[in-house]
């Protein structure tokens, strides 16, 4: 593992953030290739299990991106997501996984830039944090 590079799983809501990511692409905005994006219909669909599983399977960070509060295509899905992410973060903390490895961002369909910046910033943060503590042992 000389060439460690953070692996990120990004859950993006269909209506805002996934569109935002598309926009970043359409706009040829460059950002690190560390993220694997998973489209979900709404961040409200997000189960804490997804986050935990992502880390279990080797993710160094998990990004959850949804519509801004008030913009949710399903009225309040993102509010619920907020609560769940907070809970997941707390759990990660107990489990000894730095809660900074989990990030929630509101990215609208028009915020291609924000998407690219978030990614860059997250990868930088993760580089600072180093590899997921779960790694070394699972090999």
């Amino acid at each position: 593992m000389t060439e460690w590079d953070p692996k990120i799983v990004a859950f993006c809501c269909n209506w805002c953030s996934y569109a935002g990511a598309d926009l970043a692409g359409v706009s040829r905005m460059q950002y690190p290739p560390n993220a694997r994006v998973i489209r979900i219909m709404c961040t409200g669909r997000l189960e804490p299990e997804f986050i935990l599983r992502a880390f279990e399977l080797g993710a160094d960070g998990v990004l959850v991106a949804g519509c801004h509060i008030g913009d949710c295509h399903y009225v309040s899905g993102n509010e619920k997501a907020e609560a769940k992410i907070a809970m997941a973060a707390e759990l990660l903390d107990v489990l000894g996984i730095d809660k900074r490895r989990l990030r929630l961002e509101w990215i609208s369909a028009s915020e291609g830039r924000k998407f690219a910046d978030t990614m860059k910033d997250f990868v930088d943060k993760l580089r600072e944090l180093g590899p997921s503590p779960l790694k070394g042992v699972t090999q």
């Binding site: 935990l52 809970m87 489990l95 000894g96 042992v137």
Partner: protein, 384 residues
């Protein structure tokens, strides 16, 4: 000998005389007449083990051990179910876990070797040690409290409550951040491999502290150490005790005092603590010592109705019906709280009580679920 034959052998399933007593007692069979414990065992005996492995019934069992407890021939039904589940998983018959499996994942994650922050609850006023005779196995109360914030947040306070009680009796327990999940939900959902890993870690951790006694507040952890660990490892190097046993001794020695309370409560025998481990009287005696009035529900001790779920693998209509029956019994006691030592019971009953559309019979129910250890700690002399 095939694996199934070995399971039949070990669990004494061949002793079954097909009397049907297990079915007559089974709470699941009462609600789902197509489910019959004896049928599962007889099938396996009669060379239809593959069918048993593939059947959903293997997950319908709530492993409450009413059948085990009453089977005249001591057939270990739940043991049989537990081990057949792992066979079932191997052939692809997997359970539909609650919370999409987050609880199981969380438990698996405790054992990955990272430095956890298990002791976040440990405040400065609590006195603990790194090495010593008495080890307190905190279990995943705190984590579950986090995960089920809306249903059972008080679980986060349980470890602190236990330490507080022990401190009050002049005991500084060992707690360890290296502890991992006991593996209860994993073995009951057919994941023997990870269960074994976790088990060995825990044993090593406890060994390192030199503890002679390990105490538990969580009913499941207590059962897992007492039965499953010993099933794999034989006798352990330390004594396993439930906090209710341990505290009762301390109370009898006069080391614990309680403040006056005119609380009126009812007590729920969780299946793990009660039928699995035979602890019925100690919690009741503690209440007596606390001068708390205990109003019993109609079904108690070996007949207590369970929460209808086990290891988060079998939440169904059957579970709902069992929960409702139990809560109605609790309601009937007209007490302020139903106490229990099992974190899962707390979660599952609260799950029903906090449903948006809860059954009409429960509309006006004032009943509250409370963790027993928390309840004791709150009523220690001198606590706020």
């Amino acid at each position: 000998m095939t694996k199934i034959e070995k399971i039949i052998e070990d669990t004494g399933a061949f002793d079954c005389a097909e009397c049907g007593k297990c079915t007559s007692l089974c709470p699941v069979a009462k609600i789902d007449p197509n489910f019959a414990p004896r049928l599962i065992v007889v099938k396996a005996q009669s060379g239809l083990g593959e069918e048993v492995k593939a059947d959903k019934d293997i997950w319908s069992c709530v492993t409450c051990e009413i059948c085990n407890n009453m089977c005249p021939y001591e057939v270990d039904f739940t043991g049989f179910i537990q081990r057949m589940r792992s066979e079932a998983v191997n052939m692809g018959n997997v359970p539909a876990c609650s919370q999409a499996g987050a609880i199981h994942t969380m438990q698996r994650l405790t054992g990955k070797g990272q430095k956890q922050n298990r002791l976040l609850w440990l405040t400065d006023d609590l006195k603990v040690k790194d090495k010593g005779d008495v080890y307190f196995f905190t279990g995943c109360s705190y984590q579950l409290g986090v995960l089920f914030k809306d249903k059972a947040e008080e679980l986060k306070r349980v470890p602190a409550s236990v330490v507080k009680m022990l401190n009050a009796a002049g005991i500084e327990p060992v707690v360890s951040n290296d502890e991992v999940c006991c593996g209860h939900d994993l073995i009951w959902s057919g994941n023997e491999a990870v269960f074994e890993e976790l088990m060995h870690k825990n044993i090593a951790t406890i060994k390192a502290t030199g503890a002679k006694t390990v105490v538990f507040s969580c009913a499941e952890g207590y059962r897992t150490f007492s039965v499953d660990y010993q099933d794999f490892l034989g006798d352990l190097d330390f004594e396993v005790k439930h906090i209710s046993e341990y505290l009762l001794d301390l109370i009898k020695q006069g080391k614990l005092e309680f403040k006056d309370t005119n609380a009126k409560v009812t007590y729920h025998d969780s299946c793990r603590l009660g039928r699995h481990m035979g602890i019925y009287e100690q919690p009741r005696e503690i209440l007596k010592a606390m001068k708390v009035e205990l109003v019993e529900m109609p079904s108690i001790k070996e007949k207590a109705i369970g929460c209808g779920v086990n290891a988060f693998v079998s939440c169904s209509e059957v579970s709902r019906k069992m929960q409702l029956d139990r809560l109605l019994e609790a309601k009937g006691t007209n007490t302020s709280a139903m106490l229990t030592f099992c974190p899962k019971c707390l979660i599952h009953y609260n799950c029903m009580l906090r449903m948006e559309k809860k059954p009409p019979e429960l509309e006006k129910a004032e009943i509250k679920l409370r963790d027993f250890s928390n309840f004791i700690a709150e009523n220690l002399k001198g606590s706020p």
